[in-house]
Symmetry: C2
């Protein structure tokens, strides 16, 4: 049996998704690559789409998750702020906690599945 | 702050969703209404779509979740089997368990949100 279990957390604020799997994956890609365009490429989305998701994420938070430095002698660069890092960490912690806490019940559910 | 938190569990089998929020909501509507067409209406989907989801659910399980009795003197009728009832119960238990276990971390995450 090859069942895989996916837990997806979405936090809605004013009827829009403030935090969800797409935004978190984008923040993680920015942390890895240090660049919006590289992160967008990695996730197969347009630069414009990535930029809009980041803008939406930043505006939904008390303080921004992503900081973009202006280009200069050392060039620009995009990185997560401490708030962005906390956001990603809490989000992944929640998924892990949920999985672990419900492991027995998830097993009971997957045992109903055909092989 | 009006943040609402949604946990969605999906179980994939052979790269298709074997159990997910849509199928569980449909099973619950069938349990409530005793009828595929009434359940479909309640969820705003076509009879055909509901029927296909039920068929897919049944075929993905070791034994079916939904039983449809042929019409007769007492008329037909659709109800959940014990397996269907267990499926819904486990699924909702998992959501509740996940929520409760991660409550503190969810609070930490929602506190990052703008009001």
């Amino acid at each position: 049996m090859s069942a895989t279990v996916q837990f997806r957390l979405r936090i809605y604020q004013n009827e829009a998704i403030a935090i969800g799997p797409g935004k978190v994956a984008l923040l993680e890609a920015i942390a890895r690559t240090g660049s919006i365009s590289a992160a967008a490429r990695e996730l197969g989305m347009s630069y414009r789409r990535a930029w809009m998701l980041i803008d939406e994420t930043n505006r939904g938070l008390k303080s921004p998750a992503v900081h973009t430095a202006a280009g200069g002698a050392q060039g620009g660069g995009t990185h997560l702020t401490p708030v962005g890092e906390a956001l990603v960490r809490h989000y992944r912690d929640i998924e892990r906690t949920a999985h672990a806490a419900a492991a027995r019940q998830i097993r009971a559910l997957t045992q109903l599945l055909a092989d």
